[in-house]
Structures are given as C-alpha cells and as structure tokens.
Amino acid sequence: MKKIRVVHYVNQFYGQIGGEDKADIAPILKEGFVGPGMQINNLLKDRGEVVATVICGDNYFNENVEEATNTVLEMIGQHKPDILVAGPAFNAGRYGMACGAVCKAVEEEFGIPTLTGMYIESPGVDSYRKYTYVVETANSAVGMRKALPAMVDLLIKLVDGVELGTPEEEGYIARGVRRNYFHSERGAKRAVDMLIKKINDQPFVTEYPMPTFDRVAPEAPILDMTKATVALVTSGGIVPKGNPDHIESSSATKYGRYDLEGVEDLTEATYETAHGGYDPVYANLDSDRVLPVDVLRDLEKEGKIGKLYRYFYSTVGNGTSVANSVKFAEAIGKELVENGVDAVILTST
C-alpha cells in the first residue's frame, strides 16, 4: 500500500518559532515534522508520514489572507501531499481561522482532502466546517493527546476514500452539508418501513431533520407614500428580451439590475422571463404581470407614490438555494438603501 504523504500546517507557536511576539512571521516551509507533527507521524506508523510542515504566524496569516494563502498553497503543492492536516487549533481564534482557510484553499486548489481540529466554539468552526473536516477537540492544548489519534484515524479514512459514518461516529463536527449517495433500498420502500415504525411507536430516524427558518420582522409602515421612492424586485425572472446576463432558469447564481428610464410598459417585444419553474407563456406575453411597471407608472402620474426607482432587480427563484438568495438580498438591499429607496415591492411567482 502506498504511503500517505501528509503536509502539516501549524502556527508560530506549535511550529516552535515563538509565542505572540512571533505571530507576524511569514510562511516558512520545513521538511518533515515539527511539534505536534511528530505524534501524527508516530500514529501513522507504516501507513504514511508527515513529509513537510508549513509554519505561519497567526497575525501574519489573518492580516494578509490572500498573500499568505497563495504562499502556503505554493509550499504545500511542492510536496504533492495526499492530504493536508492543519492544527489542531483548539480554541485559538486566529489560529483556527487560519487552519480553516488553509484547508478550504487546499481542497479547492488541489482537490485533496483536508482536516483540522478545533474546539466547538472556536470561530473557525462556523466559518469553515462546511469546507473541511473539523475534529472536535478540547478548548486547550491539554486535549492534544486525545485530538491527534482521532485526527489520524479520520485522516486515513479520508485518504482511503472509505464511506464515513455519521459525524458523531467519526468524531468530527457536522459540516452542515448534504451529500448524495445511493441507498440499498429505494425511497418508496424506506417510506413504508418508516411508516410502520412510526405507527408502532418504534424509534426511526428522519432522513431530513427540519431546518429552523429565520424570520424577518416587518419595518414600520411608510406614512406618506406620495413622497416615497419605490423599487421593484422580483424572483420571477423578468429580464430584457434575450436574457443578457444569462440568469439561469433554475438554481440562479446571480441577479440582474436593469434600467427602467423611459420604460412605461413591459411588452412582448422588450421583456421576457428567464424562470424555468412556472408556465412562462403569460409572463412572456406581458411581463407587467410579474413586474408591474405599468401600474407603478400610473401611480407615479397620479401622484400616489413619489417615484418608481430607476432600476429593477431580478433573479430566478426556481430551485435557487437559500444561501444564494440571502447573498442576493444583502447586496440588493444595500444598493437600494444607499440610493434612497424607501419601499420595495417584491414579486414572486
């Protein structure tokens, strides 16, 4: 069996350079193991070895993320590892952030597995558990003796590509990531099996625990609409004819901002929907049905609203992940506020 090549990332302290006073050192590459890498190397026995160690100061990394990441990647790449191990960082905030960032970057750049170790409350956990495996550790280095065997066990499984058990069984912090696999039984059979257990009050495990939704408290009402600037924002996919930004018909990764200067009415010749999740015929005939520009222009003329904001924003809600939706909403909301918009009409489909 091929020996596993491990590259280890540590900070200035575990890299035996120095304490807080050395936290601003730039990345250094050393052959073989340093500090806790020795124990990793021992635990690997004949399965593999720590071929190199990259050491970087925590302040340096966090204050020069892009540059530090590039240098670290270049150093790690030289040693063609099968896996990268970072830390463990325990509850050290900046160290944890650096470990997480290095793991994420290595996985993206080289397509190899990565893992690290942190205390559950370390800020690096929330930021990076989605991108790497974070073995749960104690909150200080007293947990080193327990952390390293767990990390090495997982390391070997990741390199071997064996099907992992649950996060609890494997000792890592759940990544909050859904991953597909083929079951031995089809879904309909599993549903009937689950039903029988539920009927008989026997324990069963749901395959999708319900998420908790965040709720947005409504703003106070606008007292004088005759002075309000109103914007139109839609997830109904209305775009200028031809969909110039190629917004996807499902699972949108972007939104568009389009100028309404001089536009009184959306017509079949000028606008359409990019949305793949509803019958598009009626929206294509008259896009005002989804994005009511004509009515807003009437209200403008009648003096019932101050004015219609010059741009509208559009994306496709169909199959679009909540994470993307939140990202779009934050960006759109920021622009609207900066441009003095008082009210938004959100239309869906």
Binding site: R175, K189, S321
Partner: protein
C-alpha cells in the same frame, strides 16, 4: 376492484418488418408505427430510434417516459381520457411490456425538459437508462404555440406506447401479479385489527410542462379525490410534466407507482392500506389551502391512522407538502413524507422552501443541486444545445467536446419523489 397484471419481460427491441413480439424481443415496423402516430396538424415530423442500456447515447430534451401497457380484459383502455374513451379502468387484465419504454423528445417546449444518458455516470442517476428505449422524436411546425406543442407531443407519446403494447396483447406473460382493492368498509372488516393507512399522492399542477392529468382531466381543476391503486396501474394518471426533470413523474412511474406498490407489499400484514387520495399542487394560496383542507378531511373520513404523502417538484409545492403534513398530524394522523432537496451546489443551504417541526418523518430522494459532468456520447438524439438553458444547467453547461456540466436536476428521474430510485442524501 381486481386487476391482473401480466408482465412480459422485454430483452431486446429492434426494428423489423412487422411489429411483433418474438421470444422476448420486440420488433418494430418503423414506417407503420410512424403512420399509427397520426397526422397531427401541429407536427412537422416524427422519427423513431431505438437505444439500449450501455449505448453511448444521450437523449435531450426528454419530455416523457411511457411504458407500453394494453388492456386485454375488463372495461376501458390504458390512458383513459387521453386515448379512447373514459370508462373506469382498474379491473380485468392488463399486459405490460416491462424492461422497455417510449421516450419522447424533439424541439424544446420550455426550459424544462430532461436528459437521459444510456451509459456513463449520468446513467446511474436516471432509472430509465436500464431500459430498451424506443425514442420518438417529434418536431413541431414553426409558429406552433407552446401549449399546443406540449399537448401534441404528449398525446403522440401515449399513442406510441399503445401501438407497441398491442404486440403484447396475446403474448405469453413471464410474470403475473394480482391486486385486489376492496371497498373501504369491507377492507375495514377484513383487517379489523390493523391500523389503516392512506396514501396522499400529490400531483404537480402548475401550468405548461407542470401538469398532470387524471382520466384526461387537468388535475389543477380537481378537488382531492379517491382513486384505486389498480386504476393507477392502468394509466388513469399521466404526465404532462417534465420541468426540472429530476423530480417529475414520467407516465411510466405513475403506472408503476412506487409508493402504492410498496404499500401493497405489506398490506394485510402490518397495516390495512385502505385507499389513495390524489391531490394537486396549484400555485395560489387559496388553492393550496382548499386542497390541503380537503385532503385532511378525506383522510379523516377514511378513518386513517397513518399516511404517506409524496411531493412532486420543489419550492412552491414544499408549501403544499407541509400543509398536508401539518393538517393531518394535528388530527393525530401519523405522517411520513417523501421529498427531495435543493440544498445548493455545495449542499450547505437549507433544503426545503417550507418546513415545520411536525414533519418529523421524512424520506429524501437526494439533493438535486449536486453537480455532475456528463461525458460526451457517441450519439446525441434530440437537441444538445438546450443543455445551456434547461433547468439545472446554465449558460456554458454544454462544452465544446460535447460534455455537459449540470446539476443532476436536469437528469430525468434522478431525485424522483415517489421513491422510484435509490438516491438519497445525508448530512456530513
């Protein structure tokens, strides 16, 4: 209602001089079949190809997958209300050509149709790659409106399946199954000690390429109602529906309705499967409220102790799914749900557009957003360029070498929510 199903195992399909079955091989007279599909004034051309499991072939855009079935005894015909008359089906005897299907393709109607790869990694995700497929390529005349285009192709698919099924009318069958669905009170008497189970069968009903038909009626316009499992096996429910093709039910899946089939397996042993309630997934809130209220009422009238609810589609119908769950659970009816997930390409987003703590027993059929690269195939039937616009793909999905990078959302049947297939998802 008692239905005998006679399954004829199809081992090969080939073109031949006459359309007939010979020792497990179906021969198809191509010219005669095209003639039988009728002269629809909306259609410019029809062509037929045959593909087999393992072939280096991609079919895109796929509209429907239909299993040939023929009624050999008992009232009515398969696909009642779509073909022939509207006699009530589900009694007598029906022959099934199993191991093959009709697949319809041709110019894209919307953004919505799917992909079937007959080999390679994509083939694992579509259950229809394991079939001998008679691909019917239907091209509309210029200027035909989308609704008319969709309707024309849909009917031609049913006609194609009916035409081929005739070859099995007098054939010797390889396997027999008999299903009997008793009147509700008789069933309750017979299995007095068993808990009563109802299946709530949600049908996608949101307009063009999102519609399902029951005895020819657009299911948008129904109130939730009862149907016998045996009627479903005779094609009383058909698809007009392939938007985000991973989790839409082609007609073949309705005819082999997986939850009904699995519930029948343990009927009379672990529970009494007393009935099927079909309901719709309309787009307006008032329709959702009405239909889910009506479902909960029917479940109560049937005296059910437990139900399985299956969804078709995602996003908007997640609201229907939750309403059907909550309203029944609140009446003390133990509920299991079947859905799929849209957890984002990285799997890190929440999976459903609606959720409720009462939905504590959920079967997932996989994350439709997961990305796959479908390698180039030697042959593409249909229109490969639509890979840049169909739901689940994006501009640039179709690469120069003919490979396609897409979410599995675009693969027909990949995350089927009737639990037809084995894909699922877990948290890592």
């Amino acid at each position: 209602m008692r239905l005998e199903l006679g399954y004829i195992h199809i081992k090969d399909v080939q073109f031949g001089e006459a359309t007939k079955l010979d020792n497990g091989t179906l021969f198809v007279n191509k010219a005669e079949m095209i003639e039988a599909l009728g002269k629809d004034e909306r259609i410019a051309s029809i062509d037929i190809e045959i593909v087999h499991p393992g072939d280096s072939v991609r079919i895109i855009p796929v509209k429907d997958v239909i299993e040939p079935r023929v009624k050999v005894a008992g009232p009515g015909n398969v696909f009642p209300g779509m073909l022939g008359k509207v006699d009530m089906v589900g009694e007598g005897r029906t022959h099934v050509l199993q191991g093959m299907a009709v697949v319809t393709t041709g110019k894209i109607v919307g953004f919505q149709e799917g992909i079937i790869d007959m080999s390679g990694p994509g083939a694992e995700y579509t259950p229809f790659s394991s079939l001998h497929n008679v691909v019917v390529i239907v091209e509309p005349k210029d200027g035909v409106l989308q609704h008319d285009h969709e309707a024309a192709v849909r009917i031609i698919g049913f006609k194609a399946a009916a035409y081929l099924a005739e070859a099995g009318r007098d054939a010797k069958v390889d396997e027999e199954k008999v299903y009997e669905h008793l009147p509700i009170h008789k069933s309750a008497e017979k299995y007095a000690d068993l808990p009563k189970v109802v299946y709530v069968y949600m049908l996608q009903t949101q307009g063009l390429l999102h519609d399902t038909y029951v005895y020819g009626v657009d299911a948008k316009q129904i109130l939730p109602t009862l149907i016998s499992p045996t009627e479903v096996f005779d094609g009383a429910i058909v698809s007009g529906n392939c938007v985000s093709a991973c989790d839409k039910n082609p007609t073949l899946v309705h005819c082999n309705s997986p939850v009904i089939t699995e519930l029948l397996e343990r009927h009379g042993v672990d529970y009494n499967f007393i009935g099927v309630v079909i309901t719709n997934e309309n787009v307006t809130l008032i329709d959702k409220e009405r239909s889910s209220n009506y479902v909960a009422k029917l479940v109560e009238m049937l005296g059910a102790d437990a139900i399985i609810v299956s969804e078709e589609g995602f996003g908007n119908p997640d609201a229907d799914l939750m309403m059907n769950c909550i309203k029944n659970e609140k009446k003390g009816v133990k509920t299991v749900l079947l859905t799929d997930e849209y957890a984002g390409r990285d799997g890190g987003s929440q999976s459903l557009a609606d959720a409720n703590p009462l939905a504590d027993a959920v079967i997932t059929n996989g994350n439709a957003n997961e990305v796959i690269v479908l390698p180039p195939m030697d042959k593409v039937i249909g229109h490969p360029e639509v890979a840049n616009v169909i739901a689940g793909a994006w501009f640039g999905s179709l690469r120069e070498d003919g490979s396609i990078e897409t979410e599995i959302q675009a693969i027909t049947g990949a995350t089927n929510e009737l639990g037809y297939h084995k894909l699922t998802a877990k948290e890592i």
